[in-house]
Symmetry: C3
Subunit: 363 residues, 3 copies
Amino acid sequence: MPVLLTTDQALPLSDLLQAANTAGLAYEVISTAGPEPLIRGLGSLRHAGPHEISFLSNQRLVDQLQHCQAAAVILAPDVYQKLEQPLPYYVVSCSHPYVFYALLAQWFDQHRLANLPSGIHPSATIDETAVIESGVSIGPNTVIEAYARVGAGTRIGANCVIGREATIGQNSLLYAQVTLYHQVSIGSRCIIHSGAIIGADGFGFAPQPNHPDGAWAKIAQLGRVLVGDDVEVGANTTIDRGALDNTEIGNGVKLDNQIMVAHNVHIGEHTAIAACVGIAGSTHIGRRCTIGGAAMLSGHLSIADDVDISGGTAITSTITGPGRYTGVYPFAEHTDWQRNAAVLSQLAGLRRRLRALERSGNT
Amino acid sequence: MPVLLTTDQALPLSDLLQAANTAGLAYEVISTAGPEPLIRGLGSLRHAGPHEISFLSNQRLVDQLQHCQAAAVILAPDVYQKLEQPLPYYVVSCSHPYVFYALLAQWFDQHRLANLPSGIHPSATIDETAVIESGVSIGPNTVIEAYARVGAGTRIGANCVIGREATIGQNSLLYAQVTLYHQVSIGSRCIIHSGAIIGADGFGFAPQPNHPDGAWAKIAQLGRVLVGDDVEVGANTTIDRGALDNTEIGNGVKLDNQIMVAHNVHIGEHTAIAACVGIAGSTHIGRRCTIGGAAMLSGHLSIADDVDISGGTAITSTITGPGRYTGVYPFAEHTDWQRNAAVLSQLAGLRRRLRALERSGNT
Amino acid sequence: MPVLLTTDQALPLSDLLQAANTAGLAYEVISTAGPEPLIRGLGSLRHAGPHEISFLSNQRLVDQLQHCQAAAVILAPDVYQKLEQPLPYYVVSCSHPYVFYALLAQWFDQHRLANLPSGIHPSATIDETAVIESGVSIGPNTVIEAYARVGAGTRIGANCVIGREATIGQNSLLYAQVTLYHQVSIGSRCIIHSGAIIGADGFGFAPQPNHPDGAWAKIAQLGRVLVGDDVEVGANTTIDRGALDNTEIGNGVKLDNQIMVAHNVHIGEHTAIAACVGIAGSTHIGRRCTIGGAAMLSGHLSIADDVDISGGTAITSTITGPGRYTGVYPFAEHTDWQRNAAVLSQLAGLRRRLRALERSGNT
């Protein structure tokens, strides 16, 4: 594990738990293993060392508890009770070990962020009409264009470009090399990863009359992108601006890397989308949906709330109710695939022949 | 809608129509609704306000005309004649409302661009051997390397890198964070969006003899990328340089976001390609083709002119004639998919059994 | 072909061959065509000019030898012996013409690189705690954050960001606009293309208890990315940092453009992956594998050594032995596809009906 705290930053276990538990989870520390440990980091059961805390949330890893070198492990009470006592580490008994792990990981990451340089780097280019609220950090070579607004406590990494009239809420975090086009709006407590491009033109062209060669007239894209609060946008993900109306990303939406969100798409609150998904223009996705990696959604569709789409699935029509939807070609050893795939172009014929046999059998 | 013109920039409707109509479309203004309106923006039928112009091109939206708040609406003459008169807005009667909308949107976007800062930002790094023609704008921190050439009237955003000996034609527009590698050539009136990388190495490796561990020898990529005039390249799209000969993008080609164009691909004039498409090495695509999002083309293929490829389709062999081609696994509710997909690995066997039954029936 | 050497840089053929042949390949120069040529570049058989060297490795191109204008051509001995003599160009007879071509291309690219500006550009922002070894070149506006380390002879292009505590080995090459997050480690002799983002957060969220609206708790990602030696990373490829343990890319791995490598993925030595592939979290891929473009691998899988995955294939379960694996829906003319695809949702029913017929036939 990378060193997260230096020796002199190490925290007594109980202090760390208290500091990290911003959700107010109920837990109990069970000390069966000597004096309270000083914690310097967080590790997996397999790799955590004697100054680290670990956790068990996946029951299939229960055997790894035997050889775990951690100073403390977060366990569900029922798991703890089945283990042979005493254990060579402190136990944090909690009904939500995965959520507690999440809180601890957040605490360590906040610690890292709090130690980064703050303030506005002198090489940043900030237009005099831009509004930069208090406690904002801006990295080297970042450009803030005219009339942009950056909310209090927001941190922007190096080499970003914040376009004209773009706004960012409070306590958001933009890593290096993020691009916001003009008039894009980002909420508070968002995390935007490097290479994300928000607000580029949607893909709109009109066939030109009297142009036999097929030339296209560009539909300039005049809408905006509105991103809510608590949204995460992954590395190299692109969200296009609307043609006339806006592209909208709801509060709490989580987007992984290399996702493409086309113009005028709406994504409902708390929907989570894995990497490499493409969503074509004007499709509306409901709330609390999950979309697996490399899925593809056609344009002008409507996807209900609470829909789960499997990875690699092409969604080509509207989905009106919750449920899980899939459409993936199963892989096989190549020659097996070849032999079976060849029949795909004859399926309609096969069905016809089967019917014919059925009829002849009935006579 | 975002404010496109301030109050004092507002234009009388007829002035705006005349200014925007660079294509010389025939149209007639029908004033049934009081004094000529002053226009400040362009909006959808549903959201346009009393200082905006709107349009109807999709017959399915005809009902939205009833509640439209726009100052003026562009309509086809036959649609206009069917409407109950008088209308509460001015009508612009024109046989090509969608194209007129495109021209208006372009006009508003040109207005926006004309108001951006011009000239070369002092933080740009421009090699003394680079040639910068007249009327060029270059944003903060943009780097123009040795022997590059930027044509008159071209605008380059912040934090771009224009490689050694790269050339850009006249009146092109590069948004922020665009990268052109060495010797890349971009035509005139092109639009390149943020995160586009043009001219990175094609993916070429030779197995090394006498290397039992499977190490690869890199094929350094010495060709160029030649991009024609009036090409648009979407955000985070990548176009690789050729191995020896060039990768070539024809005039008027439109590429959406996150497209991958591999080395030595040729794309014919006016072909339009939606987001997330991958085109493998040395494939040649004809003119006036359209390729739907997330389609994939294998390498060394030849695609005829006027071919339409559906989204999500894997094209694995050459296409010799025009037409529409598709290959997408239809999605279904998960358990239905599971039940049916399990049969895919038995299709060849099913066909054999069907034949056997047919033969036995014939005897 | 682009000019690779100026007239006064031109090399006699034998000097060039000797300089480029760093692999010690056996070869013989057969001079049937006048005085030894001076070579200025490398070209394809079809386009090489009288100052260029070319090669034949693909037997299907043998007819192009007739009209080849090159000064010299690299040929396998058996191919040479079948040609009508004398030939109008010098012949370099070598059993590995493709590898010799690779070496020559590398030589020309090294020549290009050797002529680029060296040293650290004054506009670079380098933290005083960063360690920059000897012979390092750093382009304009590149940011090297605290405690980062850049090995001897490494070249970093313009507008890159090298995060806190990140390390790069010796003689690596980072093109412009590369982003390494904090604590990422890159080996020696690597090539990283523009837009690559290494070390962004893996996509990890925990459902929050007591949040009926479906809000997610972020799992902060505390692991690192470790990239071995001789790795190439394509343009706009993203490699996420591990959640707790590290994401690991083995020595000699070659990644094309727009690949997504999720958190805690391991990729074995010398595996080569084509563009647009997505690999979900915690999947381990063996050594010497090849993965075709736009393939997708689900998470938590294990792929054996020496596996070849066809382009466009979704791998949804572990692969335990070498071989080629495929799962692609064959494309067809659209209406043919439609007719046959409609049967996919009835396959289980078809199989049942077939069985019923078989049984009735047996009675």
